[in-house]
Symmetry: C2
Subunit: 423 residues, 2 copies
């Protein structure tokens, strides 16, 4: 087995919800030792929906896989001091703090740099000036909800995927890795602030949306499921499903025309309109007429037949799946026979990224490790039960005895490690 | 000025569209030397919409800031050999290749590891098995479009933000940094594959969607702009705008009740329903009645008044902005007087992340650097003109003379660096 990429890295994470936990988990799944430290009883995300039949949070379990869990009473100065001690004691690859908690001086860079001058401290917050924000409010301010959804619709359409939180968590991982590289080279620590709104602004700008609105002075129209500046759209099929079809290059479009028998029709249409459908812009401008010519071909065929006819072409397409469809596909028995290790574990997952793991507090669930695939990529590890590693971490990093740890638990400074709460 | 975090890192990027270019740019904006190498005339994303009035792509410019641009004829074995030579010659922090090009053996890990055994090679592709896919087709398969949009709507609603591409690009940056750390410690290179679908599957699973569908056996309902498992929604205002309001904790909700004068009403409602609105789940279950009680308060007030009344509370909210609104806010004159350096540059941007830069081929546009804020964060750098750095890179890394480079350009192996095409 090849060594994990992030062997020797130790990250202390004081976090909640999506961004910071995802950032920490991304590093944990690459081999870092990530210790999430929560208040006793858990943070505000401990019981976040969706829930398992057991009542445990599938959300928390999903975002905290492969970590250790420690619980401390942060309101007690001794609890705060233990956090400081962990920062100081976490070794040459440690002294790395990831948090989205704000307004806690004992957790701030200045305080921690006093005990460890080379600390790497990354603070996630809502706005650059420290005001709070969440994905849903940041998204409202960014422009996307007013160009998402059916063309005839007027009101905003929120995204369901917390895309800004995801990007923020991944940027946090990038920030920590970059700062650790810098520390290796120079000995210097880093204080990094990462605002969720800044993440959204940067990405909105990177994709050209800001410059477009600035230079054109007008807003991009709402175009339903069409692709801006190209030709891609959804089509209804004969079996009541829908498929998404995308042509990102001229070759894709030519292949789609051939497969649907419309090459001649499109050529005549191009002459008629003075257009060139090999060009992205012309496919976009004439998207409605192109789509209406294609629609009957899809409406006459079921998904399986569409798949057969588009196979071997460059056309990019997919059936729209419900989450239950997706899970059904991931649990297909098809590949099991060929994967002896999995079958003997009773693992029914058919995709190389996905495993059925035994998640404490929940049971057998589909889970993944890092999407970064490399020889020796380990199977996904479950999330810990809340506080399960408190005693082990205090013993390993701080050298506390079982007696010391018991006393801290009795005084309510550290969690007992026997949580009534499951994750 | 503090040194950039990624000083000394050199990345060769053979890329197009969003994911790979974003991954490279993320490293470039943290100080890495990122050299994007395109075919002469540009890759398939060279003219991608949105376009500037000049005809240049705002999308390309936005996703390739702070890089160098080299153009080579990849169909010519000499062009391929130059790429190999660059990998070999790019120094101890080099030998790092990021690409989304598939099916090109001369660009594959095996070939490059022959000239540089410690090469770090990250290949972005559509599916784990090498089949192509794009954000729009991956998204269709992931389940989100069928739970996005108005409750009464039946058809899928695609996202406009290419969220999976963004996440994929950021994971690529994480993969390269992790592999470089591993190489520093062990001397070993890495071969990493990153499938866009795997990114989407991992994140969908991380957020609990897979486990939820697996364990419940049913699909989450379409809930419009409501937040699943909590209370957050949009409301119409007296001045014809809409605001997004989010209560992520019991305290947020209590503050919202106080601000809107509904504390007593909600208390009576809780008794009536046997509910506890301090609990996320109960706020979610009773979201419609809560929203209908709140709606008149928002409908009676304009956005400014709502802002005044929610100021100083913990309630999270935002006006929905069009992209033009957002740009207007970013160009406000308010802060300019206090920022002498910017004003003297004619920079009208009012947000610390954002600058007006002079983008070759386009002119003055809003742009950002990395959202990772750190003392000494540099101002955003523009994107290069296509091929602008060809001669300089071939001279610096390969030691070629001006004569050699001229000969390569004359033979059409390397770009001339005088592109007819702008970026």
């Amino acid at each position: 087995m090849t060594a994990a990429l992030l062997d020797g890295l130790t990250v202390l994470e004081i976090s909640s919800f999506v961004a910071a936990p995802l950032g920490g988990m991304t590093l944990a799944q690459l081999g870092a030792d990530v210790i999430r430290i929560d208040p006793i009883g858990g943070a505000a995300d401990q019981h976040r929906w969706p829930l398992a039949p057991s009542g445990a949070s599938l959300y928390w379990a999903g975002l905290n896989k492969a970590k250790k869990s420690v619980t401390l009473n942060f309101r007690d100065p001794d609890g705060q001091r233990i956090l400081t001690d962990l920062v100081a004691a976490s070794g040459p690859g440690g002294g790395i703090v990831l948090t989205n908690a704000v307004g806690r001086p004992w957790l701030g860079y200045d305080q921690l740099a006093r005990v460890r001058p080379d600390v790497i401290h990354l603070q996630i917050q809502g706005h650059h000036d420290g005001r709070p924000a969440v994905d849903y409010t940041v998204n409202a301010g960014m422009g996307f909800p007013l160009i998402t959804g059916p063309e005839e619709y007027q009101a905003p359409v929120n995204h369901v995927l917390p895309a800004w939180d995801i990007a923020c968590g991944l940027y946090a991982a990038i920030g920590l890795l970059s700062a650790e590289r810098h520390r290796q080279r120079t000995g210097e620590g880093s204080q990094i602030t990462l605002a969720l709104e800044d993440v959204a602004l940067a990405l909105t700008g990177n994709l050209g949306f800001l410059a477009e609105a600035q230079l054109a002075g007008t807003d991009r129209p709402r175009i339903g499921n069409h692709l801006y500046g190209g030709f891609a759209r959804d089509f209804a099929t004969a079996d009541g499903e829908r498929v998404m079809v995308a042509t990102i290059t001229g070759r894709h479009f030519a292949d789609l025309a051939t497969a649907t028998g419309l090459t001649g029709t499109f050529a005549e249409l191009e002459r008629l309109l003075g257009a060139d459908f090999a060009a992205d812009g012309d496919r976009y401008i004439h998207r409605e007429v192109i789509a209406s010519l294609l629609a009957p071909w899809f409406a006459d065929r079921d998904v399986a037949e569409i798949g057969r006819q588009l196979a071997g072409t460059s056309v990019l397409w997919s059936r729209y799946r419900r989450f239950t469809d997706l899970v059904g596909d991931l649990l297909r028995d098809g590949d099991r026979a060929s994967d002896g290790d999995r079958a003997s574990d009773g693992d029914r997952a058919s995709h190389p990224l996905i495993r059925e793991i035994n998640q404490p507090g929940i049971g057998r669930v589909l889970a993944s490790g890092s999407p970064l695939a490399r020889e020796g990529r380990p199977d996904p590890e479950p999330a810990p039960l809340l506080g399960a590693d408190t005693a082990a971490v205090l013993a390993d990093l701080l050298g506390l005895s079982a007696q010391d740890i018991g006393a801290l638990a009795d005084r309510g400074v550290a969690g007992s490690g026997h949580p009534g709460g499951s994750p």
